[in-house]
């Protein structure tokens, strides 16, 4: 019986699309990258929720909870990533959403990347990354959570 239930769950899992929240934390208005990624993911069959601009960590995590997403992709240029990324991870853990995969990109100096990864960011994409690479990453790394 347990096995049967598992099989049903698996087939349901295959039907449910991956859901990604594309977020713009902080005050910078540069959303070209975020919008391109959102479109590319949608074209690739991912369900995309875009938060829009000027989001606080609280707004992003609450939207992620409401939309029950499997991953969050953040785009940031302002240089505030060292504060904003860890703060979002902390809020996710507080909300028992630690299994939501957090990845990001933007203007992030190489030196900061290992520090962000150590804090729990899953992957950081640097400028010039082909969009297909990000789409592939999402498809390979992120699974629907239930």
């Amino acid at each position: 019986m347990a096995k049967g239930k598992g099989a049903a769950a698996t087939s349901k899992k295959a039907v449910r699309k991956i859901r990604i929240l594309v977020g713009k934390p902080g005050l910078d208005g540069h959303d070209r990258g975020a919008k391109i990624i959102a479109r590319a993911l949608r074209d690739a069959g991912v369900e995309v929720i875009y938060t829009g601009l000027h989001q606080t960590p609280e707004m992003i995590v609450s939207a992620a909870a409401q939309e029950d997403v499997d991953g969050i992709g953040l785009s940031i240029l302002s240089g505030a990533h060292n504060y904003l990324f860890p703060r979002i991870l902390q809020l996710l853990r507080e909300k028992k959403m630690g299994d939501v995969v957090l990845f990001g990109g933007g203007i992030i100096p190489d030196d900061d990347i290992p520090k962000l990864l150590k804090k729990g960011v899953d992957r950081v994409f640097t400028p010039g990354t082909p969009i297909q690479e990000i789409v592939d990453y999402v498809n390979e790394r992120i699974r629907p959570r239930k």
Binding site: L27, G29, H30, H54, T56, A80, P109, I131
Partner: protein
């Protein structure tokens, strides 16, 4: 301009050449690409000849420099008289840090200042607002109150140097602080020269540093137009900006079209507010991007000048020649710079800067090679400034006016650019003007589509970018980067709180209630109230919060 018979002969010979000579040569050496197009993906012909310009009229389409329609430049002497203003965009950390950078740049031969504010200031928040956490001084300088502005321009006489300030949502508040600094330096307002960007329509389309919804924002702008016409006559009241529209991914034509359409909206708003057009139009200026496609960019600047001249004369019936002249600042395209092989950016910037100069710009910022990774180091910004100086002093391109004028290719491209941009403007007019078009999300969608299209071309290798999808190498970043000390935030928060403690609380409160009252009364000009508030060290966040209450806030429509 050309003899009809001669034109027909040229066209016939060209046809024959194309069918015989070219066709046989193409068999031996086929074209490199299936399709040749500009960086905006506009198709380019293999050869331009006089018959591309069969209806070309020198007087009507070009004219002499300094004369209508100004295709060849807005001044009759252009760079033989005076070179363009070299104005590097600078701002980071505290007001002290940026003041030092300003003085360094001036010592290196920069001729004007340009201020980059950090995001909290751009969005109308003080550094101690919870919204500012993590962002203080990161991407520009923190300016919360007159105190910061005094430090920023310490030792810089405001009657000698002109300052450009990239500020939009809170343009009026920052401008008020600048005027208060001038007053403290003993410089009369009529001697103060410079520019506030103050282009809110572009913010809704592309840059996204806004505070209020479109209508109240337009009211603040017409208040500035009226105030400056009477009090600060040397001030450029709006720098109508295509730069950010292009950075958000638009094509060259879209940049041109949406920017001029924004200009039309401001002129109409000024007229509707009862200000005679010739009283404010001469102080409107423009700001364009210098992107990677050399000739497309040059054509864009030339088309822009001609379009604006025609629009101001024919559509708005301006009488003063100064109202017809499109003066513009240029910045090289940040979005074309690559993090891969960053030294290559020096070459990109040089080419882009050259297109701005050949296009007749009045002022230029050259990006630094490290800007895809961080704000520029002193070394990188020096190379960028030297690039301008080399173009100006060594290359010889500044020795004659509009040296590309009459090039079959450049003139044809200029004509096409104008035609396609006018088509967009007609569409926007039909929608009821730019404010209405923005509310429908029209320019936003056009830009997002273009950005996506270009990214696809790059990913497919159809547009080649050296170091990124061609001639790649695995080397790491070989150049040093500027780091902003996290202490800046602590110190800035402390300073702003200290300013609030030390000022005359009663006077500050009175200024804020006068501002609130004024904002509720349509015929009151808000500028004098803001200058009063700035003098009393009312903070930027306090002024903006007060107006947020009465004017509302704009929220992102979040479409992609």
């Amino acid at each position: 301009m050309y003899d009809k018979k001669k034109l027909a002969a040229i066209a016939a010979r060209r046809k024959k050449w194309q069918e015989e000579d070219l066709a046989s040569n193409h068999r031996k050496s086929p074209p490199r690409l299936d399709r040749f197009s500009t960086v905006s993906d506009e198709e380019i012909d293999l050869l331009y000849t006089p018959d591309s310009l069969s209806n070309f009229d020198y007087e009507e389409d070009l004219g002499n420099p300094g004369q209508y329609p100004y295709t060849r430049g807005v001044q009759s002497t252009m760079y033989r008289g005076r070179l363009w203003t070299m104005r590097q965009f600078a701002g980071f950390g505290s007001a002290e840090d940026t003041n030092a950078r300003f003085k360094f740049l001036l010592s290196q031969g920069q001729t004007g200042l340009s201020t980059a504010f950090h995001f909290p200031t751009l969005m109308g928040y003080d550094s101690d607002s919870p919204r500012a956490k993590g962002e203080v001084g990161m991407c520009g300088v923190a300016v919360d109150s007159l105190k910061d502005m005094e430090i920023l321009f310490d030792g810089i006489p405001l009657d000698k140097v002109t300052t450009s300030m990239t500020i939009n949502g809170p343009a009026a508040m920052v401008f008020a602080m600048y005027l208060a600094v001038a007053e403290k330096q003993g410089v009369p307002f009529r001697k103060v020269g410079g520019t506030i960007q103050n282009d809110i329509l572009k913010e809704y389309i592309a840059q996204h540093s806004w505070i209020f919804p479109p209508e109240p924002s337009m009211r603040i702008i017409t208040d500035i137009l009226a105030y400056c016409a009477d009090n600060v006559p040397r001030w450029n009241t709006i720098s109508i900006s295509g730069y950010h529209i292009r950075e958000a991914g638009s094509t060259a034509v879209q940049e041109l079209a949406f920017t001029i359409a924004d200009g039309i909206a401001y002129v109409q708003a000024g007229i509707d507010a009862g200000i005679p057009v010739d009283k404010f139009a001469p102080r409107l200026s423009y700001f364009f991007n210098a992107h990677m496609d050399f000739f497309e960019e040059i054509a864009k600047y030339r088309a822009a000048r001609r379009m604006w001249a025609r629009i101001m004369r024919e559509r708005f019936h301006a009488k003063d020649e100064n109202s017809w002249k499109l003066r513009f600042h240029t910045q090289t395209a940040g979005c074309t710079l690559t993090a891969q092989q960053p030294m290559n950016n020096v070459v990109r910037v040089a080419l882009q800067a050259l297109s701005g100069v050949l296009g007749g710009t009045q002022s230029l910022h050259t990006n630094s090679m490290d800007e895809t990774m961080a704000l520029p180091t002193e070394q990188a910004v020096t190379v960028a400034l030297r690039t301008q100086q080399i173009i100006a002093e060594e290359s010889g391109v500044a020795n004659t006016i509009d040296p590309l004028g009459g090039s079959f290719f450049v003139e044809q491209l200029t004509n096409e650019m104008e035609e396609k941009a006018m088509e967009y403007i007609r569409k926007i007019d039909e929608m009821g003007g730019m404010v209405a078009a923005i509310k429908q999300g029209y320019p936003q969608r056009e830009v997002a589509d273009a950005a996506f299209h270009f990214q696809r071309l790059v990913d497919a290798g159809k547009k080649r970018i050296v170091g990124l999808n061609a001639y790649e190498s695995q080397e790491g970043t070989p150049i040093p980067l500027l780091k902003i000390d996290e202490l800046v935030e602590k110190q800035q928060v402390a300073r702003t709180r200290e300013v609030r403690r030390r000022r005359n609380a009663k006077k500050a409160r009175a200024c804020l209630s006068a501002l609130k009252e004024g904002s509720l009364t349509p015929n009151v000009n808000l500028m004098p109230l803001l200058v009063d508030a700035a003098r009393e060290y009312v903070t930027l966040g306090e002024m903006c919060d007060t107006l947020r209450e009465t004017m509302g806030v704009y929220t992102d429509p979040a479409m992609f």
